[in-house]
């Protein structure tokens, strides 16, 4: 009896300290795991389980069926905003999570920014040398830079802005142009123009890295961290931040998460500068907590490699990802066709 009671008590205790975190896998989750999840779990004495998932559709399924197993998920800011509006996420308790030193615009009602990355362009250095394209106009210029391209094919996020910049719109005006239907139409028209040269429409970060590393295409749009991985793996890959789109990954807590309070505390822990300053050691994504730049862990050389918001336009998903799904469907379809 006593033995059984102790067993029960200990499993109950173990469950109190359990936490399940889901992210996207690959080099991104490896970095998060080493810099954030594992050290924080150790410091807090948490029995942490990591899962990979494919995005908010998984969370939606869990919440709708009442079988929520994730306590904390990594997400894009746009999809987190939509999921929050749909009632799939717990609001963030900012009495627990300290964002007083966070970069403006990197936290919201349902989602706390984890890192700053950039949607930009990479090129094959065998084809174009180190001095490759330096703007989206160059990316579109197939006479000056003949060769094949890869472009996003599974979402509008980061797929319309480059087209507008290639069409001559200034970085800071991109989202005001995209606020109108004509602006969206203009961007799609520009993508159509490049289409004969687009050899592959990619649908994941891993695919960007593979296409560039294997030299399957000469230029690709994509995320700087993935291009960096491809270059580190020996690929002939270089990329530029000029005209890149800065964007933020974030953490959110699914509605009805089994260990909601612990997840909130864990989120507060990994948002501290002493964890965020380790992330750039594993993947060139910048911190959202600006104090992370002051701990001395991020060297000036590394800092120079990180996407910097001052050089770029912070992505605004408001105009693109909100709105009806039929509108999005139309935009998406137009890009691929």
């Amino acid at each position: 009896m006593i033995l059984a009671a102790t067993l029960l008590a200990s499993t109950a205790m173990a469950q109190e300290n359990e936490l399940t975190v889901a992210s996207w896998g690959g080099s991104f989750q490896d970095a998060e795991s080493k810099a954030l999840f594992e050290p924080a779990a150790e410091a807090m004495g948490i029995d942490l389980t990591q899962e990979t998932y494919s995005g908010m559709s998984d969370v939606r399924l869990q919440v709708q069926t009442g079988q929520v197993t994730f306590d904390l998920v990594a997400s894009g800011t746009g999809s987190a905003a939509r999921a929050g509006a749909e009632g799939l996420l717990e609001p963030i308790d900012y009495d627990v999570v300290d964002v007083s030193n966070f970069l403006e615009g990197t936290y919201s009602e349902y989602c706390v920014g984890s890192d700053v990355f950039s949607t930009t362009y990479a090129w094959n250095t065998d084809t174009y040398g180190e001095d490759g394209p330096n703007s989206w106009a160059d990316f579109w210029d197939t006479e000056k830079f003949p060769g094949s391209r890869a472009y996003r094919g599974n979402s509008v996020a980061g797929a319309l802005e480059p087209a507008l910049m290639a069409d001559g719109v200034a970085l800071e005006d991109v989202y005001s142009v995209l606020d109108s239907e004509e602006g969206i139409e203009r961007a799609i028209e520009k993508v159509r123009e490049l289409k004969p040269h687009i050899e592959v429409f990619w649908s994941s970060g891993a695919q960007q890295a593979q296409l560039m590393k294997d030299g399957e295409v000469d230029m690709s749009t994509g995320w700087n961290g993935r291009f960096d991985t491809a270059a580190r793996d020996g690929g002939k890959v270089a990329y530029s931040f000029n005209q890149g789109l800065a964007d933020v990954d974030c953490f959110a807590i699914p509605k009805g998460a089994p260990h909601k309070d612990l997840a909130m505390k864990f989120l507060a822990e990994i948002s501290k500068p002493e964890y965020q300053d380790d992330l750039p050691k594993y993947i060139p994504y910048g911190p959202t907590n600006m104090l992370a730049y002051e701990t001395g862990e991020i060297s000036p050389e590394v800092a120079a490699m990180l996407p910097h918001l001052r050089k770029m336009q912070l992505c605004s998903f408001r105009s693109l990802l909100s709105g009806t799904s039929s509108g999005k469907r139309r935009r998406m379809k137009c890009i691929r066709k």
């Binding site: 559709s57 599974n154 050899e199 592959v200 429409f201 649908s203 379809k333």
Partner: protein, 297 residues
Amino acid sequence: MAASLANETNAAGLRHDERVEKLKLFGLSAPALLIVFVVLVIPVGWLFYLSFLGADGTFSLENYTRMIDRKSYRRIFEMTFEVSVLTTALTILIGYPMAYFLAQLPNRLASVFMIAVLLPFWTSLLVRTYAWLVLLQKQGLINQWAIALGFWDEPIKMVHDLNGTLIGMVHIMLPFLILPTYGAMKSIDRDLMKAASNLGASPKHAFWTVFFPLTIPGLFAGALMVFILCLGFYVTPAVLGGGKVIMVSMKIVSNIEMFVNWGAASALGVVLLIMTMIILWIASKFLNLDRIAGGGH
């Protein structure tokens, strides 16, 4: 008198036994029927129901009218059929001679070669698809070797388009065609060919008038299986098609993952299911479908 009474008693006893046996058989198959009902009939019924729900959650035909109104949907269905027809045709062109070759070999040797057919069949679909990507891409093995050996100078584009998709799909589908065709060939009485040549037919004539017609049921069964599997294919076109070969299954995924539109995805699933059933129905007019399941002769 006594004999007929005995007969009647016997007959009653036999009828009773038959009933018991039928009940027992039903009892044995009841768990299977229950599983089919729970995991197939109910979900498909639910799918059907979902497909008639509009965006606002009320009854609507919008998921079906969308397929007719939008050009992109028609294109996806056309693409699905194009890929399926081409894959089936190529599989027949490659698979039939291969099955013929296997059927001609002595049994022991045939089983060795059969491993070459079965081994890929047992390997994960995803692994084989990525293997083709590694082989076919510009810096892939085939291009590298061909350039090193001087067959061509510039890398040839073989993947991230329809061609690459077809290469991968034909390879994956071959066993489904070879196995039933081989079975049909093995069951042909060899003496029939001897009789044909005895009656003066040239080998070619004997093949086309005697051997080939006898293999048609097996070939047809295999081709039908390949075609139907192709209609719902996802992984291979998604990986080898470079985002340009868009089949119905991929549209279903994007409807759910990107647009979270269960109704639209369900309607596509229903249409795909109905198309498959129509094809099976037409096919059943021409051949005994039991053959596909391995029964009958």
